[in-house]
Symmetry: C2
Subunit: 257 residues, 2 copies
């Protein structure tokens, strides 16, 4: 058996998420598995580093699968990209060790959430940003984000209310990047983009989106940075902010030792 | 009469170009005029700095129109962006002098053409780039571009074979920007992006796309940089290269004194 590791980019707009589903073939995993099945003549299961929700994008989703016969990685790369739709691309194929598992072997994940602010809509990046008409107080958001880092029980930021496994995760860093929009200079509309980069050993279901929704509420002045430790201690999803929309979220990279 | 100058961004993918047409309302000018007509209660003609072809994008198309009654520019900006589809945005509205004409008063235009090279398809920017599987020799392209600058008769690069007016234009600069793709490091596929920026006092129909198609043929080794002066001297469209696809082209900026 040969174990292959692949890195996949996708525009999640048209898809019901990463994971295969019985009633639809509009999943990224499903599209990849169908191509492999046609190539090797039998069903092949692909394991992703984690699910991404419907509408979420990825630059560096990682997955692995086993094939009985040997194929050149370069050959598999070409087959995938020949048959994939234009909103999915396989960026690399490598043979991995027999024990490599895209989910269990992962040591770090990076997500990016993009928020566009201001009155002038963003045309070209519209499917990859969450648009807010108002302004955000970035300093308050940074203060709030400080409370969200470290090894903590993030049950309050978990979208799955029936989660039975541990909700403890270690968030290494939450970083902000501000991109000034040229529109800002045209009309003084304060247009711009805020990118929030989350780096951690793993994330719960909807966790980045709930963290982002909460940070936005802090940036809008509807909550205080000091509310964060209270939310976390409560382990109660009701106390955290709203779930920010899927379209602003991108899985950037999955790291392995 | 009040003369308003507007700057418009659009993703041209879904449109039949800038200019209004009788048989379709899928034009950018048409969408803008319809909103103005509804706002002021009578038809309003919008004049663009020039037509863009079907599928061509714009970050800074400029246009003007006259209204009998005074509207606050800020109010017009809001009305436009409230009713426009998500792939068109008005970036600014200003009152201009009575004699301002978006086409005749223009002194400089900048276009950008984006080419993605390499075997791994570009997912997120796919609608704004022209994808080529092979590699391009940038140095040869730069040499060829040198011959395309200056005040010359560009009849050989004009898509309109029945052009009766002057085909002399002054091209101030053709600049290249190379954007290295992270994919390049993953598989050594030589993935990357080349942006060609054209700045001139005006451009003929399809001119930037024919120049780009010709530069690509030079970069692929199918033509020599020294062929360019011969093409230009011939004034014969047949001798120049192919018309590069619309989707890679973006009108960046129109300047006025």
């Amino acid at each position: 058996m040969h174990n292959y590791k692949i890195v996949v980019s996708y525009d999640g707009t048209r898809y019901k998420g990463w994971q295969s589903q019985k009633l639809t073939d509009a999943t990224i995993q499903g599209k990849l598995e169908k191509i492999l099945e046609r190539t090797v003549g039998r069903p092949v299961k692909i394991t992703g580093s984690g699910r991404t929700d419907a509408g979420v994008h990825a630059k560096g989703q990682t997955a692995n699968f086993y094939l009985q016969d040997y194929y050149e990685p370069e050959e598999l790369l070409e087959i995938f990209n020949q048959y994939l739709p234009e909103d999915i691309a396989v960026r690399s194929v490598k043979e991995a060790g027999e024990r490599f598992h895209s989910r269990f072997s992962a040591t770090e994940k990076t997500y990016q959430y993009r928020i566009h602010t201001g009155k002038i809509p963003e045309v070209f990046e519209r499917k990859y940003v969450y648009s807010l008409a108002g302004q955000l107080d970035l300093e308050r958001m940074k203060q709030a984000a400080e409370y969200m880092t470290g090894k903590q029980d993030f049950a309050a930021f978990c979208g799955n209310r029936h989660m039975k496994k541990s909700t403890v995760r270690n968030i290494y860093e939450i970083r902000f990047e501000e991109v000034k929009d040229e529109n800002a200079f045209l009309m003084g509309q304060g247009c711009g983009e805020i990118r929030i980069i989350f780096r951690g050993n793993g994330f719960l279901q909807n966790m980045v989106r709930i963290m982002t929704g909460t940070l936005i509420e802090v940036g809008e002045g509807r909550r205080c940075p000091e509310d964060i430790p209270v939310m976390i201690a409560s382990k109660n999803r009701e106390l955290a902010g709203h779930t920010a929309p899927a379209q602003g979220l991108m899985l950037m990279e999955v790291k392995y030792d």
